[in-house]
């Protein structure tokens, strides 16, 4: 019997230990996702079924009442703010990052390398150091609680420049040369030839920068004083039911409905574009 198993395993390049490792690892992966399952499960329960002595993974009766309650808060407005902030900031960051990355990789001009090292060196400075003076500046010019305030500081994300520079460094020369013979200037070279071909780094940079912007927490928390200008993560954070002196809004079932709404866009985007997330992260951090 054991020989038979060993043969079967060997045919697949496995050993006996794999029979334990595989289920164990898969169980760990399932365990890792359980908080999400519990989140959704709680969000569908009647408030009276939530704080119970026994754990009920699949609710015996479900309700969408919690979601209705969530939408009694300005959650649509917060979502819209988040969407505007994250989309505009990501678009500008990726477009400008592509332009800079292209110039740094394919063109020669004095100060080019210094500039690139400056960009890299800035990664050593945590964003939190600039947050307080930035806030003072935005308050002084009367831009607190505005879209400008939410968007502008997120454009200068060096990650995008880095990804595009890496990509354009290995870009085939021939494509540029034939276009140059046809009389294309540097700008049409970039916009007509280089940029359309840079789809992969553009998507990788977009998904990662978008996720960072969508999830950004400290800056929108600081710069927004107006309930209507809050972003989704900051607005939803107030649903914390138990902690300290913070207001108890609705209890866990509504809180879980709110975070389900908040996490769905990120998780969906991740599921569909997983390949680009992974590609972007592994390319973006090989620098050390």
């Amino acid at each position: 019997m054991l020989d038979w198993i060993d043969d079967k395993l060997e045919a697949r390049g496995l050993v006996r230990a794999d029979l334990i490792i595989w289920p164990l690892g898969m169980a760990m992966a399932m365990l890792w996702a359980l908080p999400f399952v519990w989140m959704v499960s709680t969000s569908l329960k009647f408030p009276g079924d939530v704080m119970t002595k026994d754990i009920e993974w699949l609710p015996h009766r479900i309700t969408f009442e919690n979601y209705v309650k969530v939408f009694e808060y300005p959650i649509v407005r917060w979502g819209l703010n988040s969407l505007i902030q994250a989309t505009v900031a990501t678009f500008l960051c990726v477009l400008f990052g592509a332009m800079a990355g292209y110039a740094l990789a394919r063109m020669r001009f004095p100060g080019r390398d210094t500039l690139f090292y400056l960009f890299l060196a800035s990664l050593m400075i945590p964003a939190e150091v600039s947050v307080i003076p930035l806030l003072l500046g935005f308050i002084k010019i009367g831009w607190a609680s505005t879209y400008q305030a939410l968007i502008l500081p997120s454009i200068g994300n060096v990650f995008a420049v880095y990804i595009f520079r890496q990509y354009f460094l290995s870009f085939p020369k021939e494509l540029e040369e034939s276009a140059r013979i046809d009389g294309a200037g540097p700008f049409s070279l970039f916009f007509r030839i280089a940029l359309p071909l840079a789809r992969a780094p553009a998507i990788a940079a977009s998904v990662i920068v978008f996720t960072l912007n969508w999830n950004n927490f400290l800056w929108p928390l600081l710069v927004v004083f107006d309930e209507n200008m809050k972003t989704l993560p900051v607005g939803v954070a107030a649903f914390t039911p138990v902690v300290g002196a913070r207001t108890q809004i609705e209890g866990y079932s509504v809180a879980m409905a709110a975070v389900t709404v908040l996490s769905v866009p990120s998780l969906l985007m991740f599921c569909f574009l997983q390949r680009y997330f992974i590609q972007g992260i592994s390319q973006g951090s090989v620098k050390q």
Partner: protein, 280 residues
């Protein structure tokens, strides 16, 4: 010329909103500055004050504990998970998705979900621990446990990045070297120790550095889960900076503390680089 124009679109917002504020912040840190009224020059007073402020000391002590808990956990678990997924068992791409998923959601999701999971009376964690005979642990409401409670949520959130970096590095392990080791009769464990681990070394040190820096900057999950409490037991430098600036309206002092944190991050990063160079 064209090169400068192409670079300018990125560089201008970058310098105005990411570099200039740091320089302006140095000035702010030497002043007494609240939202109303004009700033008053105070020289090094804010820095002197920070060194004798017991809450600053608490916040920096806490962040070292956060580092001691979170960094090794993320590194070791991330590596184990990556090794598992890299075996290419059936369904391993599902496992990859599940291990990475928490990393893409916002701190608010992480925070609220874990506040509920770690609830003292009705939380899932204490429910299952009770089967092991462990009595209800006040994860987020006692000074003894709150830092650990926040750390658990942080490990769940942060692990994805380390995991993906390890996985990418594992996929670069040269196949012919592995095959040669196999032909020489090296078992799986020996191949791991003698081939895979040396190959992973730069990635391990990169993961440790990145995770250490991100842990030193821990804020959002603290804000959402515990508000730094109870009694500042889970506070962190950035949480304290937030508190000083927004609640107490002392912007100069907040800026000074942020530079102390920057100093700490710089020391940690440079030490790590130095140690790495010594070895390599």
């Amino acid at each position: 010329m064209a090169g400068y124009v192409l670079v300018a679109f990125f560089s201008i917002p970058f310098f105005i909103f990411n570099v200039l504020p740091v320089l302006f912040g140095v000035y702010v840190s030497f002043t007494r500055w609240s939202i109303v009224g004009s700033p008053r020059w105070e020289g090094l007073a804010n820095y002197r004050r920070a060194f004798s402020d017991k809450w600053v000391v608490t916040a920096f002590e806490n962040v070292l504990f956060y580092g001691l808990i979170i960094v090794p956990s993320v590194t070791v678990l991330g590596l184990i998970f990556a090794l598992f997924v890299n075996q290419r068992y059936p369904l391993s791409s599902l496992a990859r998705t599940l291990f990475f998923a928490p990393t893409v959601v916002s701190a608010t999701v992480i925070g609220l979900v874990w506040v509920w999971l770690l609830d003292t009376q009705f939380g899932l964690v204490n429910y299952y621990l009770s089967f092991l005979g462990i009595e209800n642990i006040p994860w987020l409401t006692s000074t003894r446990w709150s830092l650990l409670g926040v750390s658990i949520a942080s490990v769940w959130w942060d692990l994805g990045l380390a995991f993906i970096l390890f996985l990418a590095s594992l996929q670069d392990v040269p196949g012919d070297v592995i095959d040669a080791a196999r032909v020489d009769g090296a078992g799986r464990w020996q191949r791991f120790v003698h081939v895979v681990l040396p190959h992973l070394r730069p990635t391990i040190s990169m993961v440790i550095t990145l995770q250490l820096i991100s842990t030193l900057r821990i804020f959002s999950q603290v804000y959402v889960m515990t508000n730094g409490g109870p009694a500042s037991s889970s506070s962190s430098p950035i949480y304290y900076i937030y508190n000083v600036a927004i609640v107490r309206n002392l912007f100069g002092y907040a800026a000074a503390i942020s530079f102390l944190l920057f100093g700490l991050i710089l020391v940690v990063t440079l030490t790590q680089r130095f140690v790495l160079k010594e070895r390599g």
